[in-house]
Symmetry: C2
Subunit: 393 residues, 2 copies
């Protein structure tokens, strides 16, 4: 029976993906296993680019916990059938009996396929998926770690930009482009910015609602005639009624056929400029929204640790081919498991009933869902006035 632990990170980074590694390492240490990390996801496994983390000390581990991005590197590699054997050879070399793949939809599919291949060829492995994505689009989990921190960054930045953008006594339209691909969760988080002082965003556009240029211009015109200052939150993945992206940056798709997003803000800016108001500014939050660990949510970081640690517990109890899911309770969050095959290839979108489409807002229920995820400030260590981060690539 193989007995060591290997973990790897995959897909787009988040502000708390390393907190899950922290959870895995802490828990696996208790079990006395040797702990390995693959660099650059499954690509690192294929290339035998493996480092041992068993002896990392507590101080370094604390810094890892609060470091953004994938400290062990990432990949968007789609494993081919003929590569599974190479993976298992490397597993065997390091005596790996427990494999943890931290990622989003595509990573869960990879973990599922690998797990089934291992079963078929008789390699005994417990393979567990650890959810992570700022898009919050994995099904069967209350939320995906990474989303809470990105939501906190988006809401805080929208507050700040709302105050900044209309300091002058003249009309202006401000547009902020927010990530999330085909899922509106992250853009919806902009609604958390509203309070007794800030009434932005005035208009929210989610990819779940077909985008129409004329409707958009009518919305903006109405808001503009009322206030002369309009703040708009728009998802990068807006699609028209035929399901085509409203705007796509020219570019290439990755191995999973995911197109490169970005550019919606500029597209909407040009629409407004040509039709309504010359003073219009668009801001693309770009990679800032997924790596801003300095304003990570404490709840999100805690849950990211928990899904990692509980993943190890589940695997050591004998579970395999499952993803750790987050469950919301009266007292906070706990975990359960869901078969990887049920998760693989599925996408959760922002619920239609949470969208107030007439006013281009989200409902109170949506706010109640999001609010607990942005609570508390993660205790990022500072050195010489700046956050102190680490990485292992």
């Amino acid at each position: 029976m193989h007995k060591n632990v290997l973990f790897a990170q995959s897909g787009g980074p988040t502000a708390v993906i390393n907190a899950s590694c922290y959870g895995i390492i802490k828990e696996a240490k208790k079990a006395g296993a040797k702990i390995f990390a693959a660099r650059y996801g499954v690509e690192g496994i294929l290339k035998d680019n493996i480092i041992e983390m068993t002896d990392i000390d507590d101080a370094a581990l604390e810094i890892l916990r609060y470091s953004p991005s994938s400290a062990f590197g990432s990949c968007r590699h789609k494993l081919k059938e003929e590569e599974f054997e190479s993976v298992l050879k490397v597993f065997d070399k390091y005596d790996i009996g427990y494999f943890f793949y931290i990622g989003g939809n595509d990573s869960m599919t990879t973990a599922d396929r690998l797990s089934k291949y291992a079963l078929k060829v008789g390699y005994d492995i417990k393979a567990v998926g650890i959810p992570k994505t700022i898009d919050n689009d994995l099904p069967f989990t209350d939320f995906c770690p990474g989303y809470g921190s990105a939501a906190k960054y988006v809401a805080s930045s929208v507050k700040e930009m709302a105050l900044d953008s209309d300091v002058y006594d003249k009309g202006i339209v401000t547009i902020v482009e927010i990530m999330g691909r085909d899922s509106g969760f992250l853009t919806a988080a902009s609604a958390l910015a509203k309070d007794e002082v800030i009434d932005s965003p005035h208009l929210i556009y989610l990819p779940e609602v077909p985008f129409d240029e004329n409707e958009f211009l009518k919305d903006v015109e109405r808001a503009y005639s009322r206030k002369k200052k309009v703040f708009i939150a728009a998802s990068e993945g807006l699609k028209n009624k035929d399901g085509q992206y409203a705007y796509l940056r020219e570019g290439t798709a990755d191995a999973f056929s995911n197109l490169q997003m970005g550019g919606v803000g500029k597209y909407l800016e040009n629409l407004v400029k040509a039709n309504i108001e010359k003073r219009v500014k668009s801001v693309e939050l770009s990679i800032l929204q997924r790596c801003a660990a300095h304003i990570a949510s404490r709840v999100d970081n805690d849950v990211a640790v928990m899904v990692g640690a509980d993943g190890v517990k589940y695997a050591m109890e004998g579970l395999t081919d499952v993803m750790v899911a987050v469950v919301r309770t009266e007292q906070g969050f706990k975990t359960s498991t869901v078969p990887l095959s049920e998760v693989a290839g599925k996408i959760k979108v922002f619920p239609a009933e949470w969208i107030d489409n007439e006013n281009r807002q989200v409902t109170r229920e949506a706010i109640d869902y999001m609010l607990p995820l942005v609570q508390g400030e993660a205790k990022v260590p500072y050195e010489k006035g700046l956050p102190k981060y680490t990485r292992f690539i």
Copy 2:
């Protein structure tokens, strides 16, 4: 003798401009004067858009201190000669004997002209300029409040983006466009991101050094051939050897003939894409870098309070037509004054001797200058997981 206090904010907002209002209000309260604020800078004075702040309570004052952007609104209005009389009429109506104008170069010019006009017509006023700008381009002051917090945001974000941008095991060029207009101070702050883990930015381009496309491409090629991962910090105000902006967004100039900046990142992205590497990403920090109060520097916030409070002290001692200047000492920072006429119309640029042009870096001396300005975290109040801010427009 007029006895009340009026302050106003002008020009681009910062993360700590309201901390100076906090300082003014706190100090003026001690003197027992009535305290007024003009909304939207001198435009608010001309329109008699004045609010009284004398009775603001301590709790509200604390929130004001940590709120970003100009809580009383701003303007870019250049006072015409014939408007000075109207200004003094409003001053007289509110019995204003002390006027504080918080702003950058243009605001200091306005305060200087107003002060001289008042002297000429025999209106007794003490007019004091309070420095504020993320560009850090005011002369005769060690630094400008607002710069320290913007520098902290830039350095922290560059750290985070550096970790985020090269997680994949393949070549990439990342470009971050940073504000500062004709002054390289804010872009230079990106160098603070370097530590034992992070070696970004690999190339830094300041507006003080003439920009040449061929040299740029040679720099990037050299760095790319060495590492395959290149992180570039570029100032929005890069100029070629003829003093022309390397790239300018189409648009209009403000009343002071300041052109609207922005777009250098995309311009450099296209250069790299056409000549070196297809995987290139540019990020424009845009207004985020001047309004991110959630990561404001405590030192910067403290000094912003001090220049406001000391401004009131200087005025009540009888000084007029001066700007409060920041002075660096062994123990920290204190203030002095400099005649407004010496400041008006002058711009401080990043010192040539702090630029290591061969390596496209800044020197140790530059780091030593910047580092004290980003120390400590301002105590921004949080409510329901998000920063709590206020405004009075």
